[in-house]
Symmetry: D3
Subunit: 317 residues, 6 copies
């Protein structure tokens, strides 16, 4: 009886402490992160009841992931497996010019071989929205099929559907991504896409408004949200363009900013807010996230609303 | 739709690191602990579906407690309050002769003023067992009343009821404890009592068997479990005496050992195991707990069963 | 035989590490802080001999506070109590927009019920200046009375007196603060007030100079120092206006900046420096404080003087 | 120009801190360990010049392994690969009954596909002894072939050869191990075997002496060392039986104890010590290792000799 | 106006964390320790008012030492120097057979060149007992002279005098120690000596009673206390022999155990307790110290008395 | 058979954690740093085979230094000594105005008394470049002589020679530095000098180009590199002027930036790059270093080249 159902992989993130290098560190900090669970948590914190579907190995590491997600109050529907390993990623943060660097170590994770039929068929009952990211179908052929079947199943059960393109060059080429994702887009109601991905993967030219209108027209989408990094975001819904700047933030940890944005947007849409208002929450939640260690936006709705009210928005435009 | 419903206070525990003194430490480790939530977690891990009823302040500290409990998979039914402070306790471990020392800082916590009517009345629906400890009625007059009403409500809803005496000399005198607890005993089916408490609070003489038989007779109890520290435990149920030694353990953190024992016992009884088998699980879970930092028995059923099978039981008897 | 005697509450501060949230942290860093002890330490380090009057629980936590203060060389005159709890505050730092957030947990601390007669009556002998902040009378009615009696006692013993308004909205309303503080002002020689507090609590309009002159006139004060955040500070003494900019600082921990300012100012005045020179020390000490973890300005007089000489003052004016 | 050349996999070990569980920890300690590199380091520290042959991914994690090994002074001859992942293992220590638990995550590591021809053919020049463990041929069919070819190559180059059976039930069955290892034994001069492995994998009955004599006879070995856990070790060489007790140790970290034993034994044999003297060094180094965090015996020859001289040997026999 | 005045060197101790080796550690824990300041702190905590005389470099490291000592409430009378370096010692703890190992790095510390005339001559006014250890005269010729002059000065000012032989083989030979110390003994009232030092340095044979009587006779001492490690201690005073066993302790950190013993003994003697009672406090404080990280016995008098009352004394005799 | 041979002192660096003061910290982070070994490591990482000549005490602390350097792959040629202490320096980082402060504790380190004849005379065989810094001859008269003899020896063996002036005011006066260094300059081919040192120590006026030309003319140098802090660097070689800006960096740890610059420059010159290209590598490596904790540029050649290609150069000019 969730508002939001998400599907995707969640990894353990092992990070070198501030200033240190992965090559030299004697200690790794453990976090839990994945695009869809990050999104589910942000949505839960902004008022939606969320469920996360996934597969995990039945090991201390797999249980670590599940318990962290549950601690944020989201429901978990997990296909536990005897085989497969817990997906990991190693992360090193550095000031510029070093920046943030990621090493994926996620091969052979259970999600790569999970089938849609391994989940409780009643999971979509009474739910209202299904979400996954463009990372999931990049994980394996099976993951692609499962994504496809879950999207279909969600629609058949009367749910709306949403996806964030989230292109990851370490997982596939732009051409592969394009071929797969464009087959999934017709099953979507809401699409989030970074302008950089729209150009690199989808091959769209033009400004964000043109790009969003293109997507709406080509795939019969209800809402398209184009994010533009520090230049804010733009949404088109019912033919109306909504824009919002980013809120200035001192970044402690940039990972998960986009997922915080998506989760807050979806939660507020589910609660009945209009697209413009949902964009405000999304931008404020994303900004708050940047100050917090780890992948997850551990915020409260009250904090996000206080930020919106204080108007600390970057008015550089 | 839980097997087990528990009610009681859960505190943040702030511990000095190994070797350090509270008076000098520059760092405190944060744990979450309370007799009833420790019990609920142990029960959940041994196979029961558990719910924890309590009151918490709506603050980062209160949410810290809730999220930790949820991470273990238990359901929470919380009366969130604007007023009141998060109960704390400070802890220092030392080798002998220093031992473990606790400073309670739990006055004015929300549980002291919560009423039974602040909880969802359907919480007992489909549940099978209600548990609280003798700590809860020691917290305030209101807490005593609420304990009483929840015990009555549970019985009316058809649940079995259980309590661990858990006498805390920093909260009340033996006489106060006696006066209050003996009024609650008639509402119980299962009673756990440490032999030391039976003597100090209840005034019973005699060996554990005599003591358990006394309690069964006097309060019409179904099961009485008498724990005897390192000398193992004894249970009487249906007139049959069951005994079990402790499993030897190298103690890293003794806090929560008794709760682990109770939680495992109740979970296995709820699953249909007989009293003797439940005592085995209880003893093994308690032993495992002693090796783990914090108040909570983060074990798996498989680990506990492996210990039972390996027979590492202390056969000093 | 101190130069400076201060009176007020000192708490344990429990802070989440950098980047972490109180709601999620597994570790708290322990610091010791209170407006008057912070001030006493800054004064001691800038050359004054300082004493701190207060009440503490006779517990490891209370002793923690006392030992930390003594480590900086200040004398302590403490009413140790069997009852009452150690005042705490929880702190979380975040980059913008998260900022610094504080949860007070200081109810029922011994200072709230301490009487002026509980201190050694000779404490003012040979002393030259008494200082407290506007936080102390906000703690309880008794604390207000005690503040009043100590101020009177200090004057009768021939000491000068000083106060920093230090309005705390989590303790009382502007109206309550106004009613209480304006009764204490006539007993003062030196008043420090942030311009924001002057407006919100005292209801003064006008620029800092007008405001300071108003206060001098209304309460027959000898010196008024108006602090203006990043815009520097202004003092009026003997009809002469002194101004000083802030020294630029990369802020690691902003807590205690104002107390460092006050402590340095008072120490240098006690040593015979004129108001303008004292403002330089105050500004430099405050700036140095911002780079140091914790509430306390662990500086040396040499460091502060090196900063003054290097002229790293922000010359934006 | 090494005395000792070893071949095998070295992993990153990620350990939960003392008292913590892998399922709950927020921090992992990073160590580097592998049977053959542990052995090479112990040998180097006891006086041998050692080289380690292996394959590693050219990533920060692979470089972490190499740099740690070099820090102990051993030479590395590494086949760096673009593909493959750094082998990991997760470790949790607990007091009894929890004990030490290991999760291997070493599939697809480069060593599983490295060929003997990928190493510099001159690596055996001037070397005197080649060592690998029974873990290496368990990793893959290719690893088995490479082990075989390196053993042959070593012998052709005039080196002695040594192996420790080191049976790992998480890698293969006793039958598989038996089938593979008994094909390698004829290429050996020196064999180390734990009595438990001798029984489980090799199927030998009888006491250690009988067992060692069997092995010498069957595989024409020069030296066989049978280790018996806390009951010490026995070696047969030139028909002479040498025995040595363990030195008592308070175990902080048991991992790598056997490798420390082997490394010290081989180093002292290479330096010309007789088998009895080498057993003394082996036992003392192994004992010292148990007190040190991590997989590696960071000892000095002087420390080991001081232990031998102090005679702290457990003389329970 | 102290009860007890002590003189000696206090170092910064830099320790490798548990399990780690100095050769490999990436982190050092900072403690403050020196025989005489350890003794002064134990005495202060057991009820004596204590002063510590010494010399320190005027640097952050020197100030670190002073502030730590003051935090325990002792007064410091320090000759601050521009030259000289802060004495350090590096420490590594390991389980057996590794044990505790110390590297001194204390050459050129200011105490080695401080003269008795650099201290405030009024420091002995109203004081009752002067204490130093046999380490101080080992530091330099000047330190020996200063020790001699302070002992004489103390006696002239009417103080009793006490010394613990505390032989350190890393500082001087038994012959050197003998030559120096026996010249100082005639200036003493109370002498503490470990039986091992009595034999190695003083050349005494015989049992502890004979040894103590010898010393009393030869140097006209009032009290001699002979410590015998785990076999307890023996004191002779006014011809009466007092003996006391050790209290069993799980040792976390053995450093400073002897100083805790001496400080408690002296404090209780100063408070009027007889020698037998003072031995009880000494033994209990020493036992408590073993459970605490660092060199210092951070105990309360109440804790020590609770231990004495609980009678947890090892009654192996 | 190294490309680069360096000679100089390497110390243990003991740093207070971020935000903390040396005077108050309870923990010190251990790093290893010295101008010449920092340079050797940077060179090794940029492609040169490097050897470091020095003297160290044969103690855990001395071995700590050696093992850290070896972990980066450089060869060590060490004169191990029984006497002498490991050189240390204590470091505290703070934001402005606190800045970075260093306390040297390096007196009596073995390098101060090592002679050139204590090194293996074959160390220059097949080597191509010898490097030391202007710190080394400041350490002692003997160190000055040894520096001189190694420079001569290197030239006689056919090596090029290089030096960075690296003036340290805590070691000697500008006049002393001038007198010593100008005697060494004639033995150099390549000289690095910060413009500030050129003015303070060498007394040169004029712009960087004039200054470099002066040096070339006066000492018959082949290459002079003048570094100008945030204003980039200028090199003159064969009469051609090369300039390069700094790459912008968020500084986590500034120590070792200059050594990273020198090491990269030399490595690329040794590999055949021209001076302009070598300056690019030097600037990029220095920038990368600023983001990394510790004294050492733990970079890869690929990272440095990626930075050069991305053109993130500060184009403020």
């Amino acid at each position: 009886m969730s508002d939001l159902v998400t599907f995707g992989e969640t990894m353990l993130r092992l990070s070198a402490p501030q200033g240190e290098r992965l090559e030299r560190t004697e200690e790794l900090e453990v976090y839990v992160g994945g695009a869809e669970s990050n999104t589910a948590i942000a949505a839960e914190r902004l008022g939606a009841v969320s469920t996360w579907l996934s597969a995990l190995p039945d090991s201390p590491l797999g249980r670590r992931v599940a318990s962290e997600l549950r601690s944020h109050g989201i429901d978990t529907e997990i296909a536990w497996t005897e085989d497969g390993r817990q997906g990991l990623y190693f992360l090193e943060h550095g000031g510029e010019p070093r920046g943030t660097n990621v090493i994926y170590d996620r091969d052979d994770a259970p999600i790569a071989s999970v089938g849609a039929d391994q989940f409780d068929p009643t999971v979509f009952e009474d739910a209202r929205l299904f979400y996954t990211s463009g990372i999931t179908p990049a994980l394996s052929e099976q993951a692609r099929d499962t994504t496809y079947h879950l999207l279909q199943g969600a629609r058949e059960a009367g749910l709306r559907t949403a996806m964030d393109v989230n292109y990851r060059s370490k997982l596939w080429t732009p051409e592969e991504a394009n071929a797969t994702l464009t087959k999934l887009f017709p099953a979507l109601d809401v699409l989030f896409v970074a302008i950089r991905d729209a150009r690199e993967v989808l091959g769209y030219e033009g400004n964000p408004t043109e790009l969003a209108n293109h997507l709406i027209a080509e795939y019969d989408l209800q809402t398209v949200v184009v994010t533009r990094g520090e230049h804010g975001a733009l949404a088109i819904h019912d033919g109306v363009v909504h824009e919002h700047d980013v809120y200035e933030a001192e970044t402690y940890d940039p990972i998960g900013t986009g997922d915080a944005f998506v989760g807050a947007f979806l939660a507020r849409r589910l609660s009945g807010d209009d697209v413009g208002r949902a964009l405000e929450y999304a931008a404020a939640t994303a900004s708050y996230k940047r100050t917090i260690a780890g992948d997850v936006a551990s915020v409260t709705k009250e904090e996000v609303e206080a930020l919106i009210e204080s108007g600390a928005e970057d008015v550089s435009r």
